[in-house]
Symmetry: C2
Subunit: 396 residues, 2 copies
Amino acid sequence: MPTMRLGIIGLGGAAKQMVPSFLSHPYVAITAAADPRDDARSAFAAEFGARTHATAEALCADREVDVVYIATPHQMHRDHAALAARAGKHIIIEKPMALTLEECGDIIAVAEANGVHLLVGHTHAFDAPILKMRALIREGVIGPVSMINSWNYGNFLYRPRRPEELRTDAGGGIIYNQVPHQVDVARLLGGGMVRSVRSMAWTLDPTRPTEGAHVTFLQFENGSAASLVYSGYDYFDTDEFHYWIGELGEPKRPDCHAASRRALEAMTGTGSEVAAKAGGGFGGGRRLTVPPQNEWNHPHFGVTVVSGPDGDLRQSARGVTHYGRRGAVEHPLDPPRVFPDKSGVIDEMYDAFAGLRPILHDGAWGRATMEVSEAILRSAREGREVGMSHQVPVRD
Amino acid sequence: MPTMRLGIIGLGGAAKQMVPSFLSHPYVAITAAADPRDDARSAFAAEFGARTHATAEALCADREVDVVYIATPHQMHRDHAALAARAGKHIIIEKPMALTLEECGDIIAVAEANGVHLLVGHTHAFDAPILKMRALIREGVIGPVSMINSWNYGNFLYRPRRPEELRTDAGGGIIYNQVPHQVDVARLLGGGMVRSVRSMAWTLDPTRPTEGAHVTFLQFENGSAASLVYSGYDYFDTDEFHYWIGELGEPKRPDCHAASRRALEAMTGTGSEVAAKAGGGFGGGRRLTVPPQNEWNHPHFGVTVVSGPDGDLRQSARGVTHYGRRGAVEHPLDPPRVFPDKSGVIDEMYDAFAGLRPILHDGAWGRATMEVSEAILRSAREGREVGMSHQVPVRD
């Protein structure tokens, strides 16, 4: 099999969480990375022996890069995607794909014009149990999907942030950063074609002035429907409904409600929250805690149950549970091959690179998810149902 | 305190579940009951020494009855309420209040014209933890309510039924029998005034041809919103998310998924399902299983979480959990005084009877809940948002 050489633009927290999955692929090599911060570059170079660049332009000119992973702040996604595409590089672009549907369209167009693959992710729609649920649906295990319901209550809004991450108009808050996970999962399970969106969303903490909670009804073209509930206010925690396993698959203590609020309150110095945020990237002081391998579970995003006439499917700790006519049946999965396991992203890009299968979470898919996410905000602001016009079906 | 003398019309399963709560009230006496079935009447007379009547008319003419509890099939509610009101009896009417909003209006009018109290229930909005959640909201513990989310997956559609209970146009299925619980709870927690309803509902089993699942978005006038999810298809069971406690408060085994489907399949003789249904009433062979008193928990209806800027509230096994800025805080309640505990109904009627406080779940309240329940069906059938016009606020 051919080796796929990967370059990273943006050495922040997203890249730090993604790199282990890149490295877990037998035919992927990380050959280069770009970041304007010296300390991030030198930390990365020291750890991986990869070439580093100060600019995205330089990385895109690097001849030893086949695929560019764009993990820069959201507002830079379009320009960085254009740089990569024009240099003939395939593109993995972090969610949110961009800040507007117009930007999404530009990214799709430039990738197409230059004949490069475009993948939007990671989202939790790449999680192995979610892909397994989709496969079971395709096999007809529960019959045609009726409803899809998802709850996620957690601490999102109280993780350390840069100021723009708390401004919705700059792509901050749950609409651009958490809702796309839920929408991507619901669209994958429901077939992709959302007809309309009805939602309410809330900004409940004036010190974190961006949406932190929403409740949304999605009607699909095929008659199925979904409810999506999210709260990032660090009160109730739906990981209780998922075996006390955290989002990345780590075992989680059941007594940490509001702990992120308290940790944030304890950061009193000027800029200390911003410093804490930077600490999560390369060159930062915070290490990703990796549990012992026998405690690795698959990642998840709250609790999701999908229903049909012949049963319900629910992500379990290490696979998928099918509640059917004869009771609960477990469909176990292989354990995660890496922690945290975001390997679905690199597997999907590699398979396209090697000509094995097309990309599922491509640009049109990502734009459709962004359309629903934006419509959640619009429906909430306008108090009415919002129709969709950029939806695409699941390509499986 | 005055004694309140109670007469029951309809000695089926609803009455059998309600009577222990009536008897648990120190100032309530059950003095009479009516049912057309001889065996039900004699069983009741033998157990309670109460006078029995073959007709609702005769019971309403009974001078030793102050309050009539109407637990007859839904389609009889209006006529029985009219009989009771014209005889000057106060009325407790089981949910659903009636089959149409017009019938609800007739019941309200006849009660008003005759100056009698009218209470619609039981619903799970009378559960002590739900009333406690409402009280905590009124105290400002979580601030203004933002979202209310409720999931209930259980076995409803596979409990033994009479044929009309499986016909939506005869008041069967979840819309008339389960959804009112969810709507009543959501309206109580959200203040009562629903502005609009968007829903999808499903009839997934042709042998049980009535709605068995729905997902619904409620927008309230005050800016709060709710999502309600229900499945009665006996697959996934949300009692897993409520400490494996069943709807009535009983400890529940975690391995009974689809058990009601299998029990129903085993009923092969003609009329055996109808006989099984009748077995749940007075004179029937099935006894209500009462767990040891130290295992009594409060009843619940799936899992309900209500949110505000200052926290989330969730019904716990024996009270309410407040997830706030300092973590999870338990608000314990006194244990149930009876099993199953539906005593909120009789307490509310007694307090009105004794002039202590007005009825919370009155006729206008019940009609508003019916309006939302009907709108769920209409929105699902028409694929659009439906506005409300009969809503009333919580009177507390």
